[in-house]
Amino acid sequence: MSNNQQIIISGLGGQGVLFITKLLAGAAMADNLPVLTSETHGMAQRGGNVISYLKIGEFSGPLIRPATADALIALKPESFAHHSYFLKPGGLAVVNSPNPVEDDRYRVCCGDATALAEKAGNVRSENVAMLGFFLGAMKNDTHIFSPDSLARMIKEKFQAKPAVAENVLNLLGSGMQLFEKR
């Protein structure tokens, strides 16, 4: 298990790519690991394709080179099509999609995070459901992203809004279960 991790988070502007990037980065920082991220701002945030790079470990540059990423979180099926080229051969892709996505170059796991979020009455939180799904998928790859430390950060972030925190934590949990039940 390596402590050096390079992860791509891809989605559309407004889907909350930055939010899950920060949570994952925070989890790594709780382990005292150096973290670098890079994000999309400006015009592309208006509904365009947005991408976040998360690098944990001994790196200087903030971007990830094609064919080197350990994992990809795709918040839309099209996000996988757009950004799977960042994955190294055999890299893990978790894709928010009701239908299976086939690509034998990578380990692709699909889950319908949108449906989960809809069921929870919060269509805008599909990012959190997908984050849970990712945690489930990464469990055997690295210890960095422990559900406990993510839960701690979520509680801290929504300190003033305990109801929101509970909602987010539940979705995170159901995302993880969605992976287990596959």
Binding site: L12, K22, T37, E39, T40, G47, S60, P62, L63, H82
Partner: protein, 604 residues
């Protein structure tokens, strides 16, 4: 308090400024620089610092305000994006001659790519032209470090210093220690000296001489000397010179591939250290990796040994991505490089948000003047091009003067197309007003639509002079846009909400008729940016539109002409569908369907 934080490059810059005693910070927002001043404000509040933070009306005003603080002996800074530096070029050029008393930093954020800009211009070239030193950080951490060095350099030589981060520094986050800042305030003390501060051309010649002498010394300044970051200095064979984010990328690649080539990082690209130029003369081949133009490269003595942007070895166009850096380093070192297979798909084009009031305005303009020429400006509303209602975008404020130019160009034609210009509220304040005055004096027949959403939306909702709140969120005097328009001499001024689409179209038609004989007509489209609105307020004003399944024949008119992201064509039913996750309930689309298939729920 000494905690690790995941800190944005722009926040690190703000931290570096405040930690080093910056007492005044001014800025005009622009990607990728916008979060610098917001971070100054958050740190000021968090650490209870007695400093001044200000969103200025434009970059020139921001520059001059902060500069005066430095003339009075305080440490100050101004922040902007690279094209903003064009606006502030006038005070930049002059202030370098006059110099400073307190440290003065000019932060100009470049955008190689470009990701969110009109050009890929290199601010460091502007520094060469203005003759001031420029520092080029490679990461958020180094940006904070260089802010301190820059203030010392500025005070040591009484000269403004440019700090030039790029998008990948501004919008990267790094885990770093953030300590509580204890600030010792200086008192402002302006030392009157008209021979210097108000120098006439004769004295300017003397100032220019002194400036050249300063630059010679700065090219020997110890703290900004190039740093050997990898390998050992050999004095023959190959060397790699890196700066900015390219330095960070190159370090990773050199380490990963265990290449034995000395790598020098230049933190002060101009003036390049003289001793370093001599040192480089010993190498037979030098690769220079920098963004976006070859500023270091052009200062190296023997061009025949240098490979970089100016020699064509590195593309002068686009961002220097880490994969490009790797490929070029391998080519330079004669090492095998296997390019990964990449299939690039065309990305989704950015679009105005669902419910954006600008969409209603643009749709109305197209209806009022289907054959018009539409000049526009910089902001979210540039995306009106998706609706065919934006024909030109040049630079901040240009839309109004260009509208004038088009009417003049067409004046002798048999037919004159109607000319409509759109400008956002913040851009109008920034540089729209002089152009508008000009159109009044010339009686230019055009319609100006000021898209007043009460904020500077695209860059992250900074206040405008009409907002009535300042950078810290405290209330301040609000300037009235209609009063300014009237003050410019315009006699047709109408204010309306574009959500009321039919009435808004009528007003635009009235304005079009008026301007033919009487000169400029101004319509102010007032509706707040939804991203700025309270959720509860939005919920209360939500009007549910549904698709009448008996009428909708799936013609797609609304999808292509209104292009709201909440509207889509369902391939199974061949009818329009409304995405409940995206729809904001603005109900403007209910006016759009030519067959009245989009109806308010309770009116079906």
């Amino acid at each position: 308090m000494n905690t690790k934080r995941l800190i944005l490059g722009n926040e690190a810059l703000a931290y570096g400024l405040l930690k080093n005693g910056c007492q005044m910070a001014c800025a005009y927002p622009g990607t990728p620089s916008s979060e610098i001043l917001s971070a100054v404000v958050s740190l000021k509040k968090e650490m209870d610092l007695d400093i001044h933070a200000q969103w200025a009306v434009n970059e020139k005003v921001a520059f001059e305000t902060a500069y005066a603080g430095a003339q009075a002996g305080l440490r100050t800074a101004v922040a902007m994006k690279q094209v903003g530096l064009n606006v502030a070029a006038d005070p930049l050029m002059s202030s370098v001659y006059l110099g400073v008393k307190g440290g003065f930093l000019v932060i100009s954020a470049d955008d190689p790519g470009p990701h969110s800009s009109q050009t890929e211009q290199d601010s460091r070239l502007m520094a060469v032209m203005a003759k001031l030193p420029v520092l080029d950080p490679d990461s958020p951490g180094q940006a904070a470090e260089l802010a301190g060095i820059a203030f010392e350099l500025s005070e040591a030589f009484e000269i403004p210093v440019m700090l030039r981060p790029t998008t990948r520094v501004c919008h990267s986050r790094q885990s770093m220690d953030v300590e509580k800042i204890e600030m010792t305030r200086r008192e402002a003390a302006f030392d009157k000296n008209p021979g210097r501060w108000a120098a006439t051309p004769k004295f300017r010649l003397q100032l220019h001489k002194e400036l050249e002498a300063k630059l010679t010394k700065i090219a020997d300044y110890e703290p900004t000397r190039p740093r050997l970051v990898s390998g050992t200095a050999k004095g023959c064979g190959q060397a790699i010179v890196v700066a900015g984010v390219a330095a960070a990328n190159a370090r990773d690649i050199i380490k990963e591939r265990s290449l034995d080539i000395p790598v020098y990082q230049v933190v002060q690209p101009f003036p390049l250290h003289k001793e370093f130029i001599r040192q480089m003369n010993a190498y037979d081949e030098i690769l220079v990796l920098e963004e976006t133009w070859g500023v270091i490269e052009m200062q190296l003595a023997d061009k025949n040994r240098v490979k970089g942007k100016n020699t064509g070895f590195i593309s002068p166009v686009g961002e220097l991505l880490p994969e490009n850096v790797e490929e070029r380093i391998c080519a330079f070192a004669g090492v095998d490089y296997q390019a990964p297979q990449i299939t690039m798909l065309p990305g989704r084009r950015p679009t105005l948000c669902a419910g954006c009031p600008h969409r209603a305005s643009f749709y109305a303009i197209k209806k009022a003047a289907p054959k018009g020429i539409f000049t526009s400006d910089i902001g979210c509303y540039t995306l009106g091009c998706n609706l065919g209602a934006v024909d030109t975008v040049t630079c901040m404020g240009a839309g109004i003067s260009q509208a004038a130019g088009f009417t003049i160009a067409y004046a002798k034609n048999e037919k004159q197309p109607p000319v409509f210009s759109t400008i956002g509220d913040s851009t109008f304040f920034h540089s729209g007003i002089p152009g508008l005055i000009e159109t009044v004096t010339k009686k230019i027949p055009f319609v100006l639509v000021i898209l007043d959403n009460r904020t500077t939306a695209m860059t992250g909702h900074q206040p405008t002079p009409a907002s009535g709140r300042d950078a810290s969120g405290d209330s301040c005097i609000a300037v009235n846009i209609p009063a300014i328009v009237k003050g410019c001499g315009v006699n047709f001024i109408k204010i309306a909400d574009p959500y009321d689409l039919p009435a808004f179209i009528d007003i635009l038609k009235e304005a079009k008729a008026y301007c033919k004989e009487n000169g400029p007509a101004v319509v102010i489209a007032e509706h707040p940016c939804l991203l700025d609105m309270d959720r509860a307020e939005l919920k209360a004003s939500f009007k549910k539109v549904i698709v009448n399944k008996d009428i909708c024949d799936g013609c797609g008119y609304c999808v292509s002409h209104f292009e709201c992201p909440a509207l889509g064509l369902n391939n199974d039913t061949e009818q329009v569908c409304i995405d409940p996750g995206l729809c904001t309930g603005c109900a403007v689309c209910s006016f759009v369907c030519p067959k009245d298939a989009l109806v308010l729920e309770n009116q079906e």
